[in-house]
């Protein structure tokens, strides 16, 4: 090895590289099962493929049957995902106030389990807890730094609508055996269906990376993580 090569090797040893995250659990959770035999695709596989094609095709999908089809194909209750060619103008990221975030009023953590009509999944740590009764059964939100966890009862009718721009990446995942989807790489708009059946845009923010999944009849949304591995770890920590 020449002197220059030795200097390069020494340089490599002091390069500042963040510690590699453990990606294995996140990757394994997403791996599709591979089989050697060629089979006729199952109905669900076809549905997912078709839904993915619709999502990738872009353009707003106005017809209600199409919207519901996408919801079912993604396997998530209470969530509908739609891709549009252009999102509304960018909003600022969440400033930290529950009211400004549109997640309701703050309550004491001890009251979290009594505040809504479902069994709440609580994250570890000391989150700020917010509740809002604008959807059937109410929704509860936990704010942990810049990460926001929202829970509501999964229903056959979508309560949350995600509107994706062309660059948003949609990844299907499994979270503790349940269905999930991870939206990353570009902001997307969040809309809610209120108790009165109105579809209302959340004008406060455009969400960043989001993991949505079903557990024990609840739909859980984890927003603001920097990568899927972090979101999955947080999902598993809910109890």
């Amino acid at each position: 090895m020449t002197e220059l090569e030795q200097r390069l090797t020494a340089l490599g040893a002091v390069l500042e590289v963040p510690p590699a995250p453990d990606l294995v659990p996140g990757v394994l959770a997403q791996l599709p099962v591979r089989t050697r035999r060629r089979r006729r695709p199952a109905r669900r596989t076809v549905a997912i493929a078709l839904a993915a094609a619709l999502l990738v095709a872009g353009g707003a999908m106005a017809a209600s049957p199409t919207r519901h089809f996408i919801l079912r194909a993604l396997g998530l209750r209470g969530v509908q995902i739609e891709r549009v060619p252009k999102l509304p103008s960018q909003h600022e990221p969440p400033p930290g106030s529950g009211v400004k975030l549109g997640i309701g009023h703050r309550i004491a953590p001890a009251d979290a389990r009594r505040a809504v009509r479902f069994t709440v999944l609580v994250p570890p740590g000391s989150p700020a807890v917010y509740v809002r009764h604008d959807v059937p059964g109410g929704r509860i939100s936990f704010l942990l730094g810049r990460v926001l966890i929202t829970e509501f009862r999964g229903t056959a009718t979508p309560l949350i609508f995600k509107v994706l721009g062309p660059r948003t990446k949609v990844t299907q995942v499994r979270v503790d055996g349940g269905s999930g989807v991870y939206l990353s790489h570009a902001p997307h708009e969040v809309l809610f269906q209120t108790t009165h059946g109105e579809i209302r845009a959340d004008r406060v923010r455009l969400a960043g990376n989001v993991l949505l999944f079903d557990r024990r009849g609840l739909t859980v949304r984890i927003e603001g993580t920097h990568a899927l591995g972090q979101a999955l770890a947080l999902a598993r920590s809910l109890h």
């Binding site: 020449t2 220059l4 090569e5 200097r7 390069l8 090797t9 020494a10 340089l11 490599g12 040893a13 002091v14 390069l15 500042e16 590289v17 963040p18 590699a20 995250p21 453990d22 990606l23 294995v24 996140g26 990757v27 394994l28 997403q30 791996l31 599709p32 099962v33 591979r34 089989t35 050697r36 660059r167 990353s184 790489h185 920097h226 990568a227 899927l228 591995g229």
Partner: protein, 195 residues
Amino acid sequence: MHAQVTQTSSIAAQSDEGQLIAAAKAGDQRAYGQLLERHQAVAFRAAYLVAGSAADAEDATQDACMKAWLALPRFRPDAPFRPWLVHIAINEARNRRRGASRRATLLLRLGPGPANAGAAPSAEAEAMAAEDRARLSEAVGRLREDDQLVIAARYFLGLSEAETAIALELRPGTVKSRLSRALGRLHTQLEETPT
């Protein structure tokens, strides 16, 4: 004796890796998880140097792991897995860098100097070493991307020439000649830079 033991364990590790690859090719996700545990760190390091952002590197590595799984049925069982995964991670990281309109150059950010197990160097010696590393890093950063990548693969990722060939999709002979030319250009850069 020590060399013999090392060689034996290396052969055992290769054989073990071959078994893991064969099992993963047959659809064994646990075997694939073990392969990733061994090589995700070097894939992430490569992706970080190319993408220039930890979040993009994490996404790029994750996508590389997914794509490798999907492509595994076509992977030769006797081929090394590590440089192949690095190759996919570099491509994914490049795509993200292009998407973010970042310059096609490696991110070479210097951390603190190496911990010295022996006698502590003088403050002056340490300052000179740090200055030398900064000068070298800047000179590498001025090279064209092809040169930076071949240097990074060999000296910053610790890949062999054969592994570098797979990671950068080059013929083994090309790695040798490209590395030689890259080192020559680096030498010129250093000579042209005032100390």
